[in-house]
């Protein structure tokens, strides 16, 4: 090999190695409690429950992140992925389904991982006009439910999947790992950013609040409102009941303000101009206008 080729090879290898380090850095494993851990990645949070019977994965992030997510899962267990649960139809919650099954489960039809979503997720993904890129996501689902909760026992633990109708979308699920005392909330709860209320896909502010109040009903705080039940959000840091309270309060208070403005006959543009979320905008990421508009639209849709 000439010196020139050697230098180019070193440069390419250096760039590759650097890129590997950077992408590896983007995925982190964080033990929560009991059998449950949180994997923090570019597509949000993945919840993993491991034990002798295998692995449960809640939300698979994106196909692009799948190899890193799988590598992270392998630091917890070398058992196969047996169950997958997608908490919503969003691509960054189910885009890694097929890749994770390929990397960590079995593609044999009889042994293939069960991929659970609420039936509305599948209905939305096979509706006319859905993007071609979502076909694989739809095809990965093999176990929909319509009666809530759906439950199963795995690794000696009850896993309970609750449908949250009309929250972030109309196909949201939250998952309770009953013995570990951990809730995986999906995008109903995102402690560092405004929630996305996807009105077009059946979401609503009241449904979102119902979902948050359901989480509060299920969670039991430890001594002096700390710890106890842990909540893994769709995105953001690990939380407990008190953090969900702050988030629920934020959504409720901004909802109350928009509702009051709606009663006064204000238009959407007037409501946006009044900036009803302005005391929360320094705290929560995301577009305040988009959040306020989604509240306005879902409240306006309820008006007789």
């Amino acid at each position: 090999m000439s010196m020139k080729r050697l230098l180019i090879a070193m440069l390419v290898w250096g760039t590759y190695a650097c890129a590997q380090v950077q992408t590896q850095d983007a995925v982190h494993v964080f033990p929560v409690q009991g059998n449950v851990s949180m994997i923090v990645g570019p597509g949000g949070n993945t919840t993993v429950q491991v034990g002798k019977e295998g692995i449960v994965v809640v939300d698979t992030q994106t196909a692009a992140a799948a190899s890193q997510v799988m590598a992270a899962i392998r630091t917890l267990s070398d058992r196969p992925i047996i169950w997958m649960i997608n908490t919503s139809m969003d691509a960054d919650h189910m885009g890694g389904n097929e890749a994770l099954i390929r990397l960590g489960g079995s593609t044999d039809a009889s042994e293939r991982a069960r991929v659970i979503t609420h039936e509305n997720v599948l209905n939305r993904l096979v509706a006319p006009g859905i993007a071609q890129a979502r076909v694989a996501d739809a095809a990965s689902i093999n176990d929909t439910y319509f009666r809530s909760p759906k439950d199963f026992l795995f690794n000696g633990e009850a896993v309970m999947v609750y449908h949250m109708p009309a929250a972030h979308t109309d196909g949201d699920s939250i998952v309770l790992f009953r013995r570990s005392d951990v809730i995986s909330s999906g995008d109903i709860f995102t402690p560092d950013r405004y929630p996305v209320i996807d009105v077009q896909n059946g979401g609503s502010v009241q449904g979102l609040l119902d979902g948050l109040n359901k989480i509060l009903e299920m969670a039991v705080a430890g001594k002096y409102q700390e710890g106890g039940t842990f909540v893994i959000p769709g995105r953001g840091r690990l939380c407990d009941e008190a953090d969900v309270v702050e988030f629920r309060d934020m959504v409720t208070i901004i909802r109350d303000r928009v509702q009051d403005m709606l009663k006064k006959g204000m238009t959407l543009e007037q409501v946006k101009a009044a900036k009803p979320s302005r005391d929360y905008d320094t705290q929560y990421k995301g577009s305040p206008d988009v959040f306020v508009e989604s509240i306005y639209k879902s409240l306006a849709a309820r008006k007789p």
Partner: protein, 298 residues
């Protein structure tokens, strides 16, 4: 110098630490000579004086309704954050961990009467948790010596308050404490940096005296709904509708604008804006408030 003297001096020096280490261990009782009315009976609604808050914090506090504590059960047993606990009601016990193998100081522990709050202040050089770790009321504290002063850095705090009338402190805040002991007195200066709600650091100080006979009892707390409201109700004042915001101004004869807080109101130059201010003829509310029992309520 005789061999014996050298031996004695060497033995004496052997017990001197390589760097300053003041022992803060003991039972400490708070002194309420600073900010007594705020810390004992509690702050007035709408009193944001001395706080370098931004507009977001001001509106959050304006919207706060004290009914929230009665209606939202989860607020009832919520403790002070460690950045507030030092000035809230309650006595403090400080203990320390010494590594028996090395005799190095590994950690201080604080126990506050209020909500039985326990905190560990790590002295072993460990890193703070990653940003995706959970937050707690006491946060995660590490400390270093700066001469005889202990400087404590606390991150991973849960969202809470910097004043008990709804002025918020975010979960992104960092609290820096400077602990200084002068004989039987302890001074802690707390500096709160909060990119969400403060435009500049909030600096406060609290003092304590050593009280070896002190016994801290169990605080205890059980939450229960106190008002018959439906689940999910969060009492709040819509912007511009809080009827209590001018009370503090009227009771104390303060200009309303000064009670609204903000960095500008902290500095002496602000007095020039108060040229029309006339102090009330006599104090008639919380006038001699240095303990919980001598605060004169009207």
């Amino acid at each position: 110098m005789s061999k014996l003297t050298v031996l004695v001096l060497s033995a004496a020096l052997w017990g001197v630490p390589a760097f300053a280490q003041v022992d803060f261990s003991g039972e400490w009782a708070p002194l309420y000579h600073e900010n007594g009315p705020e810390r004992l009976p509690g702050p007035e609604l709408g009193d944001y004086t001395e706080l370098p808050i931004n507009d977001a914090a001001r509106l959050r506090a304006d919207s706060w309704d004290a009914d929230r504590i009665s209606v939202v059960e989860q607020y009832q047993c919520r403790p002070h954050g460690s950045d507030y606990a030092l000035r809230g009601l309650g006595n403090m016990r400080v203990t320390r961990d010494i590594d028996p193998a090395t005799q190095r100081l590994m950690a201080f522990h604080t126990h506050m009467l209020a909500w039985d709050s326990d905190r560990t202040i790590y002295m072993d050089g460990r890193a703070h948790p990653p940003e995706y770790a959970n937050h707690t009321w006491q946060g995660f504290s590490t400390a270093v010596w700066e001469g005889n002063m202990l400087t404590v850095t606390t991150t991973h705090l849960k969202e809470n308050y910097i004043r008990r009338n709804g002025v918020p402190r975010s979960d992104q805040a960092t609290s820096t404490e400077h602990w200084m002991r002068h004989g039987d007195y302890l001074t802690v200066v707390t500096v709160i940096d909060d990119p969400v709600f403060l435009t500049e650091p909030l600096v406060r100080s609290d003092n304590w005296y050593l009280d070896p006979g002190q016994h801290i009892g169990i605080f205890g707390c059980e939450h229960a709904p106190e008002l018959p409201k439906p689940e999910g109700v969060v009492p709040n004042h819509l912007p511009g509708t809080n009827p209590f915001l001018r009370e503090v101004s009227e009771w104390y004869g303060l200009p309303y604008e000064a009670t609204r807080g903000g960095a500008e109101t902290l500095y002496p130059e602000y007095r020039q804006k108060l040229s029309g201010y006339k102090a009330p003829p006599k104090c008639d509310r919380y006038c001699t408030c240095t303990t919980l029992f001598d605060c004169q309520l009207r």
